[in-house]
């Protein structure tokens, strides 16, 4: 049984403690930013930003909602990036925790192909082509600690534990939240180890909340399967 995150966005206040904790634990440098007319910053995930709280304002039925989405790698159960890479020294999965890990050897991969393979648009590359993303704080987790983002979260948004426990917590919260929010749902829960609960339509939070097929024009579920299929792999290798 692997680990999983349960991220309850209905509890998120956008404090971004998780975003800083991630940088602190991984000792990642700050990016030079400016205020671009939003409180969301830095503007995107990057080689030195693995976690980013997306912020969107939306009005439904005259009611304002300020939606927060703490974005990170989903640690897919069948990771398309891993299948695409076909190089265990570059991308591998820790079967014990379920963490999908990128190493320095990602430098030898076709970075754009790996990025393209991700249905959630997560990996980012350095100037030399090395890829980086959330590593589930695997070093902390294998030593009995919570991931840094979960440890720091003051609201109960970020949860982490055995997958079955997280799934059950997610379902329990979904049942509660559904009473007040018709659109409440768990996002791609069967396919990923980072299960998000959203109370509004996923597209209102951010473009890549649900698995998408990127430029391939497939349905999201198809995309997940296709990415991982031997046929797709073969096609990629040919390319």
């Amino acid at each position: 049984m692997s680990n999983a995150f349960f991220i309850d966005t209905t509890r998120c206040t956008g404090c971004r403690g998780c975003q800083v904790a991630c940088k602190q634990w991984h000792d990642l440098p700050a990016e030079k930013t400016e205020n671009r007319g939003t409180l969301e910053n830095p503007p995107d995930l990057s080689f030195s930003t693995y976690k980013l709280v997306r912020m969107r304002e939306t009005e439904t039925d005259g009611k304002l909602k300020w939606l927060f989405f703490p974005e990170q790698c989903r640690h897919c159960i069948e990771p398309p990036c891993l299948e695409t890479a076909q190089d265990e020294s570059a991308i591998f999965k820790d079967d014990k925790t379920g963490a999908v890990i990128f190493t320095a050897n990602t430098k030898n991969l076709f970075a754009d192909e790996i990025i393209e393979s991700c249905p959630y648009n997560i990996p980012r590359k350095a100037a030399d082509g090395t890829l980086a993303k959330c590593d589930m704080c695997n070093g902390r987790v294998t030593n009995g600690l919570l991931p840094a983002c979960v440890k720091t979260c003051p609201t109960g948004t970020m949860n982490f534990g055995d997958r079955d426990q997280m799934v059950s917590l997610a379902q329990q919260r979904l049942a509660q939240v559904s009473k007040r929010h018709n659109s409440a749902q768990l996002v791609d829960a069967d396919d990923v180890n980072v299960i998000y609960l959203v109370s509004e339509a996923p597209a209102l939070y951010y473009e890549f909340v649900m698995a998408s097929a990127g430029s391939h024009g497939l349905s999201r579920h198809m995309a997940l399967r296709k990415m991982a299929s031997p046929f797709w792999r073969a096609l990629r290798q040919l390319a």
Binding site: V20, T33, N35, G37, T38, N41, T58
Partner: protein, 605 residues
Amino acid sequence: MAIIQQLLGNMGVAGGGVNALRGEPNVQGSTDHCLLWHIWPGCLKTARASNTTLAAYNEKWTPSSKDPLSANWWQNYPKYSVSMLKSFFGEKADVANEFGYRWLPKVDDGAVYSWFDIFDAMYKETIKGFFAWGQNPACSGANANKTREALGKLDWMVNVNLFDNETGSFWKGPGMDPGAIKTEVFMLPACASVEKEGSITNSGRWMQWRCRGPKPLGDSLPDGDIILTLGEKIKEVYQEDGLYPEPIANLKWDYATDGTYDPHKVAKEINGYFVKDVTIKGKTYRKGTLVPSFAFLQADGSTSSGNWLYCNSYTEKGNMAARRGQEDAVNNIGLFPEFAWCWPVNRRIIYNRASVDAKGVPWDRKDWVVYFKGEEKDGKYVSRKWIGDVPDGGWYPLQNPDGSWRDDAKHPFIMRKHGHAQVFGPGRADGPFPEHYEPLECPVEKNFLNPQMVNPTAAVYATKADAHATCDPRYPYVGTTYRVSEHWQTGLMTRTQSWLMEMQPQMFVEISEELAELKGIQNGERVNLTSARGKVACSTVVTKRFKPFMMGGLTVHQVGIPWHYGWRWPSTGKEDSANLLTPSAGDPNTRIPETKAFMVNVVKV
């Protein structure tokens, strides 16, 4: 809020009361120990000029009640004031010199010495020297341009802080001519809270002792060391040729161990000592031992206590604030009585006898605070026993189980003269009830709720730096200030942190989509925000969270700004404080500045 909570019966109960959301973790502790001008430690009154003698002072501030059921706890006032004076002046304080009362400065009757008044006096050049101790007034106070100008009129300023800031470097700030400023500035680097030992007191009045973590960096020192050393030097100078040396020379100042500041000595001084052998109820307490609790303090000079409220915090049993017991009390409501220490006498919820009925039985049987469990005989209570929290006085309940009233009981609100909660009372400048007034600056020409436009007792100032503009077409929009989670206070500890600056890099103004359209402002565009007092450059955040609203038939636009920025960091020097815009107007009782509602304009650059 206090009135509503009282009417709801939410006093002294679990989950009741009013929780003050403080801007610092130790606001409670600092005000307990005399941060504000109008009170001495332990909420004792600052002496007025008309309180010419200690006897007159005690007489003036000691209330009396003719109700035998009123504990009227402040009847003990002289015990606390004299013990405090003994703590200040030690052996130098005796009956003949009124325990040093005559050496203490008195405030003029009717005069106010708040933050605003200090900077007003500085601006008018009546205050010539200034210690900015762990503060950044050049950014933190309303009407910061006035403050910055006032700093330039000083002879000297000592800036005690972790880092250089807009206050210490005011003379080279925006619009300043360093060559024309005479103020001599001294920087004393202080270490951070985790680099020193001592206590903080949170808003729940829990005094929590904290050990030192890492050693202070470089030449920085705990502020205890700074003030101790300063005090020693000042005493030296006064002893040599002081004009009136007694108040300084006679100050008890023995808080060093091996040449450095010892926080335990100060904590013990705050708790207080028996300064001679004292026999109370047949038990003798030796000179030099710590006083067990304020019930033992005396008005004859035989005890000392720097702050009577904290008497019981550091006793012969040890440092109570350093306790880390993990057990909850019997009522299991999260009191954790052996974790740290709570004033008064480790009582976690004050006025807790208001949580029981006249027979001592909790109104709330589930989450009860205290419960009277004395023995009962023939329908009468015959022994006293309360369980749960430390009761607010251990007297019998007002009523016996058979319904008869007792004459040895006390009303629950023991700090009130007559023992009862008060919906209103004397002492408020604008009392007895709250009333709606328009802010000093507002977009409408009349108060729609009552004929009086603005609070007639509000504090306003009259220098040329105190400009106001109400219903003025030059400043048509309502401005308000707030905080963001990424920065703290004036940002001195956060604007230097790259991870936090990555998230909140620049001063910004939030405006509605409607106002953006009206003014032709693009999201993210730099604009100037102006008021009658100043100008601040901001990045625009166009948001649905601000909406125009109707007021007296007018469409009113409101804009919002955070207050954490200053020109010193980030190094571009282009971000500055929201307080350049805010008015120096304060509420009549506490001088809380009116930074939540004032008038501004949004100007395209």
